[in-house]
Amino acid sequence: MRLAFGDRTIFENLSCRFARARITVLMGGSGTGKSTALRMIAGLQRPDSGKVRVAGDDIVGLRESGLQRVRRRLGMLFQDGALLDSMTVLENVGLPLREHTRLGDAEIRDAVHERLAAVGLHDVDSLLPGELSGGMLRRVALARAIIMDPEIVLCDEPFSGLDPPNVERIEALFQELCHDRGLTLIVTSHHMASSLRMSDQIVLLQHGRAVSGAPGQLATRGDPEIKDFLGADGAALARQVASGSAS
């Protein structure tokens, strides 16, 4: 597919696949279109030309009602959370259940508490988004993204602003969602260590094109641009991941 904003080309002949029930991390420098790629998969941004297939269906030509049906299979964590700031945490996370199911208040509350516990949050029901720290806000948004048990979860910079224990908690949650429950995760991240540790596939966006492979494979390729992006530490870490000794 191709996408340009005015004179600035974001993607030129971009083509990549994301495997089912796997964690794929989209990496690349700032402005390479990682978040835009997620928005295109979600149908929030249309390409100038080309196709975007979600679970086999091309979503580019769909109207809003068609996109709504596709989006029921998706969950998305936005970079800044995108929580409704006039609603409490309980109302925000429970909103998809209230809109699309016939569950009662108590059942919704239980489901919300379960998801909040999974992201390491307790006793935050009555707080408004404005009262949360950046890391808490992102975890609440992640709880909302997975509350409907979607098939595909899109996460835009989920580790940004998180402390190391919470990075590990979210990594473990991603592994569980993917490998135990069969969800497909597509994650953008600048967090090299966690990306290499948890991903099954890395897609590196550079100059409007994509290079993809398993974390260990990328480091061993002779492509100078990939080496530049990973740097010496990243390449060493990728080799450790490939040999299974990364911590």
């Binding site: 979600a42 929030l44 996109l67 709504q68 995108a82 929580l83 409704l84 998809p96």
Partner: protein, 263 residues
């Protein structure tokens, strides 16, 4: 750029005119989207009530205070004019008719644009810039149905109520000046008002004007917020544009309704 390719004044004006017409069409389509959303389930009763509270209940003090002040001014100006012709006993009729036919709906509309309309645009614009509307789309919730429709509907329905309050407090303000300060007879003030006001030509016209103004500013303020560029300056410009556009449309529509109703 060379002289040969520089667009001339006529071309520029043509460009402005065509973009204005396109904008008008987009706003009309947006209004159609709101109407469609009203008819589509689920019923957003709680969200409409909340929007009525924000736009209506929180505007009551402002509207009542402004109505009282305008009524006092009308009472004073009306008395000094009428007394020249020995017609000061008609003060109630003058104050009442001016308020009911014109100043009630128009000034209330301008006050509501400044208070609730601008807040609506800024709130929706901020939701655009923080991706809250995209967040709703990703939950398969239509922002037109969940956010825009309740706010537009609330602004439409609070306007006749607020305008009526403005008029009542205006008439009271005129009474305070005319009867308590100037010394006119209270019975004459109320009797002249009662005799002059007719339901169809005055009260109904006033209510229709307020309803139309409410619908106009509901559509304009939500549209400007919904199409706001996703940054602080964009939200600020959209808010200003909403207030200016809605004020101008309100005054133009006021003339059209008055002319077609028959003065």
């Amino acid at each position: 750029m060379s002289e040969a390719v520089r667009p001339g004044t006529v071309q520029r004006l043509g460009g402005y005119a065509s973009s204005w017409v396109v904008g008008l069409g987009q706003m009309a389509a947006f209004a159609g989207g709101i109407v469609t959303a009203i008819a589509r389930p689920p019923v957003r009763f709680a969200r409409v009530v909340r929007a009525v509270f924000d736009a209506g209940v929180l505007s009551i003090a402002l509207v009542c205070g402004a109505g009282f002040a305008v009524g006092m001014v009308l009472g004073l100006q009306g008395y000094t004019t009428l007394v020249r012709f020995g017609a000061q006993e008609s003060l109630g009729a003058v104050v009442g008719l001016v308020l009911i036919r014109e100043l009630g709906p128009v000034v209330t509309g301008l006050l509501v644009i400044g208070r609730a309309g601008s807040a609506t645009t800024a709130e929706i614009g901020a939701m655009v810039s923080t991706q809250q509307l995209d967040g709703l789309r990703m939950m398969s919730i239509d922002p037109m149905h969940f956010i825009v429709m309740p706010k537009a509907l609330a602004l439409t329905f609070v306007m006749p109520l607020l305008s009526s309050l403005f008029i009542v407090f205006g008439v009271f303000g005129g009474y305070v000046v005319g009867v308590d300060l100037v010394g006119l007879d209270g019975g004459s003030y109320m009797a002249s008002l009662e005799n002059a006001v007719e339901f169809r030509d005055d009260v109904l016209q006033s209510l229709v004007k307020a309803l139309v103004f409410g619908a106009l500013l509901g559509v304009i303020s939500t549209y400007r917020g919904y199409t706001s560029p996703p940054h602080a300056m964009g939200v600020s410009r959209s808010t200003t544009s909403a207030v200016v556009t809605a004020s101008v449309w309100l005054l133009l529509t006021d003339y059209v309704i008055t002319a077609f109703w028959g003065v």
